[in-house]
Subunit: 151 residues, 2 copies
């Protein structure tokens, strides 16, 4: 549906008709969208991990930008894990649906750590920023440990 | 590389070694990341288009949230259109690389219209919001018209 969703804006602009059913995103679309959010989280957290590990030079500007992006991206995947996506091909483990409270806790943890990183990255304390990048990494890893297939 | 990128944070958290080369994102990874940004733009602009068209009920809270998301997402796809991705399978037309100034203009237009929508959506003027949703839709469609394969 993402292409049709996108088309909505265009259809609007062009004045064309449109028969979208927004309340009924198809399971495969939900999976694609949640994976897209994970892909972008990976894009922006990866360099931060490398900086925190000293593998690439520390760049405060990039950290602040990526952290701000991550704070927003960390809110995006979760509505894609609806029960009707259980049968779709993905790395999500049954625990996502069997342990909803624990899964929610893991989501909240990532969002909270990412928000904290965005906050800390606005200051000039490199050590504090690096420590918080580690906390975000732990939130990623902790959730994947329980809720994502090993690959 | 997105999985490896994501692993960086986790590796950090776990104290594991890591040999990532962040300056050298592979072309197929860049394509995957830029498509992920487009997928999420579609996720969040779609319902807005439907609201502006009266196809689903107007919900000011959803509009404000989606508009804030779109403002951030509109900054994310562009570094994925690097010249070394020309040979990758995607809907990007050669115009992306043959008309860089025009492509940049289209990117800037989307970012500007999305930022304006985020701003307008904080107020209570539904008609103004709907008009600005249309402007965002035009920015999507205008860019796709020239730079994206018809599907």
């Amino acid at each position: 549906m993402d292409r049709r969703l996108l088309s909505a804006g265009i259809a609007l602009a062009l004045g064309a008709g449109c028969t979208l059913a927004f309340a009924q995103a198809k399971p495969e679309v939900l999976v694609k969208q949640r994976q897209a959010a994970m892909t972008l989280q990976g894009k922006y957290v990866g360099p931060l991990g490398a900086m925190a590990q000293g593998k690439i030079p520390y760049n405060a500007e990039v950290v602040a930008r990526n952290a701000a992006f991550l704070e927003v991206l960390s809110k995006m995947p979760w509505d894609g894990f609806s029960p009707d996506t259980k049968g779709e091909k993905s790395a999500a483990l049954p625990a996502v649906w069997n342990e909803p409270a624990k899964f929610k806790e893991a989501q909240d943890r990532l969002q909270s750590e990412a928000a904290k990183l965005a906050q800390v990255s606005k200051g000039g304390d490199e050590a504090a920023v690096k420590a918080q990048i580690g906390a975000v990494g732990k939130a990623c890893g902790g959730c994947h440990e329980t809720f994502r297939e090993k690959r």
